[in-house]
Amino acid sequence: MANEMMDLLDTTEDVGGIPRRTLTIFFMIDVSGSMYGSKIGAVNSAMEEVLVDLQDVEGADAEIKMAVLTFSDGCYWMTPQPVNLDANWSELKAEGLTDFYSACKELNDKLSVSHGFMDSASGCYAPVLFLITDGYPTDDTDNGDNGINLLKKNNWYKAAIRVAIAIGDDANKSLCENFTGNPETVVVAHNSVFLKKVIKKIAVTSSQVASSGRSRTDSETTDPNTVESTVGNKQVGTIIKEIPEDDDDDFEW
């Protein structure tokens, strides 16, 4: 026998990893002038750590990507394409207006398979949409209604897990609730310590829920004709409710 014994693994074409669905977490971050200082500072340091924490959520089922849309005078994709979790976080600076409407328009555009970010050979999970804002839209008359109404027609928006943080003493809670469509998935943050903590907690939790597909017997049945992720949003809501209250003694803003 001239030949060496060769293992089947070594003589067969290599197989790659199992195809994973992509979970994109969209951050829509207010970088208007009022965010200047400790607010944007907290956002920046939270986001650096979020990238690390989300790596624990990834697994054989899901690959997580991040897309960041900032808005002030107009809006801007920090990530021209969704990026992997090993990306570097570039510091956000706060200045300018609160062009929320233009951000909604831009987000709506990218929540699409054909010309947006939702194209993936092995499919996508319904995304996570995460709004962080401290203000009132300057380019929309009805406190963001026009922008949000645009989004409400988008199936990806409907299917998404939607969460928001309203920052500051005069936080625009109603805008946030309108954006998520559910008061339970909105948190108000009054100080930078809490803000940082809560960004991390919400980002991780909503990604876990969006990608885990863990089912319980008490999950309510959903209307078969809807794409709404009712159970998922409810799950996130109950977890958010358990987050200990912001400590007012630390009042900063």
């Binding site: 026998m1 195809p19 054989a60 996508c124 017997t217």
Partner: protein, 431 residues
């Protein structure tokens, strides 16, 4: 966010002391810490109270029950003790994952490879045996998914973890499973997890182990991109179709998303392919037909392992097809001059083939035992003369001219058709 701190000390139900050392990982339901438990390094799973809520009490009682019953065997990272309640939650103590074992998702993501192809078959056998033992004891696993196994790539040994959902049939935590691993009838809410639905999840895990693709994710599913609750119900519950269903190709494989499957499926034996086809048939998934039981998986997997032979012509390892004896690599015909017939197994006797303990035990014990006890060798001067070398400590016997010949460790029996070899109380016949 009640996480534990390094150095924090907790009391255990059995009166021991637990000191928290480091965080090992975080899952959806809890955190896992390395702890000092009465002076021994162990793992502590600490539940997230806000995730589990009402189920927490169920888990507590169930774990207490599982602890008092004890581990089926050491292949389970079985709970051994509970902690006190702190801030509305608690944890349980289990053995630490030993060195050398890797998480199953690492294999799925091709971050870790098995040392040999046969190790992958051994891993499959170990997984099936784990469930055979659980089911034999009247337990069901219920929440079976890719997070439940640690596997050693060097030998296919498997440890089963996350045994908090393991419960006696009929009991249920309220958690019915993880999407893509749940049986269709559980997905649509017609059924609670039980032994039969465990078997579906097990078949999914085996399929993913070998194929690195999901059995229900073919062309119909890939493009339906939004994985929402309703979509999940449809493709994994109401109308699941196996990507290799011979009677329905509506969800067949595509090169783009099922490349792994297309490479690996032809490497399975026909018997193994048939088991997958049976387990994922429309009727089996609707529980209108039975799905292969663990013993059947075990036997077919061991036969498959025995069919992984080295081609005498090209030297490459191949899957021997009993119906079509041609090398799948060099295409030359294979003339197998003899087989070892033992119990349900037919081992092609070519150089390098082996006889293992499990061929004799035939899955009657609680553990899969791949210990090699004999190896096929060729005579130095005549490669057509083959023999079986005794690698075990036992003394074998065979009859020659009315006399019994004893064969000790290291000795070789010339394989002549019709010869019967007695190993303990078992017989291996050369056919």
């Amino acid at each position: 966010m009640a996480v534990l701190k390094k150095g924090q000390s907790l009391r255990s139900m059995n009166g021991g002391t637990i000191v928290v050392e480091t965080l090992l990982g975080e899952g959806g339901q809890g955190y896992v810490y390395k702890v000092d438990y009465n002076g021994k390094p162990m793992a502590l799973k600490w539940y997230k109270a806000d995730e589990l809520k009402d189920s927490l009490n169920w888990f507590y009682n169930n774990l207490k029950n599982n602890i008092s019953k004890g581990s089926p065997n050491s292949d389970f990272l079985w709970p051994v003790d509970l902690t006190e309640w702190v801030d509305g939650t608690f944890g349980y103590i289990m053995p630490l994952r030993p060195q050398g074992y890797e998480e199953f998702p690492a294999f799925l993501m091709a971050q870790v490879e098995f040392e040999k192809f046969s190790c992958m078959v051994d891993a499959a056998l170990n997984i099936v045996m784990g469930f055979k033992i659980l089911h034999n004891r009247g337990y069901t696993y219920q929440d079976l998914n890719d997070g439940n196994f640690f596997i050693d790539p060097k030998n296919g040994k498997v440890l089963i973890c996350d045994n908090d959902n393991v419960a006696e049939s009929g009991e249920n935590s309220g958690i019915v499973g993880k999407a893509r691993y749940m049986a269709p009838l559980v997905v649509v809410g017609k059924k609670m997890p039980d032994k039969i639905t465990d078997r579906f999840s097990m078949a999914v895990v085996l399929f993913m182990l070998f194929m690195r693709n999901h059995p229900l994710e073919g062309k119909a599913v890939q493009k339906k991109v939004i994985l929402t609750e309703n979509y999940q119900k449809k493709y994994y519950g109401e109308n699941p179709v196996f990507i290799a269903d011979p009677t329905n190709d509506t969800n067949g494989p595509t090169m783009a998303a099922n490349r792994n499957f297309l490479i690996r499926w032809p490497l399975m034996s026909k018997d193994i392919r048939d088991l997958f086809i049976a387990a994922f048939s429309k009727d089996a998934m609707a529980e209108k037909a039975s799905s292969p039981i663990e013993m059947v998986w075990c036997r077919k997997l061991l036969q498959y392992k025995s069919d992984l032979i080295y081609c005498p012509h090209c030297g490459k390892q191949i899957v021997f097809d009993h119906d079509k004896p041609v090398c799948m690599k060099c295409k030359q015909p294979l003339n197998i001059s003899a087989y070892l017939s033992v119990g349900h197994y037919m081992i092609p006797a070519v150089k390098g083939s082996t006889l293992c303990m499990e061929h004799l035990i035939d899955f009657d014990d609680e553990r899969y035992d791949p210990t090699i006890i004999g190896e096929i060798i060729c005579a130095k001067n005549d490669s057509s003369a083959i023999g079986l070398k005794n690698l075990s400590d036992g003394v074998w016997q065979y009859q020659k001219g009315g006399e019994y010949v004893k064969v000790g460790k290291g000795e070789v029996i010339h394989l002549i058709k019709g010869r019967k070899i007695k190993i303990g109380s078992h017989y291996v016949e050369v056919v």
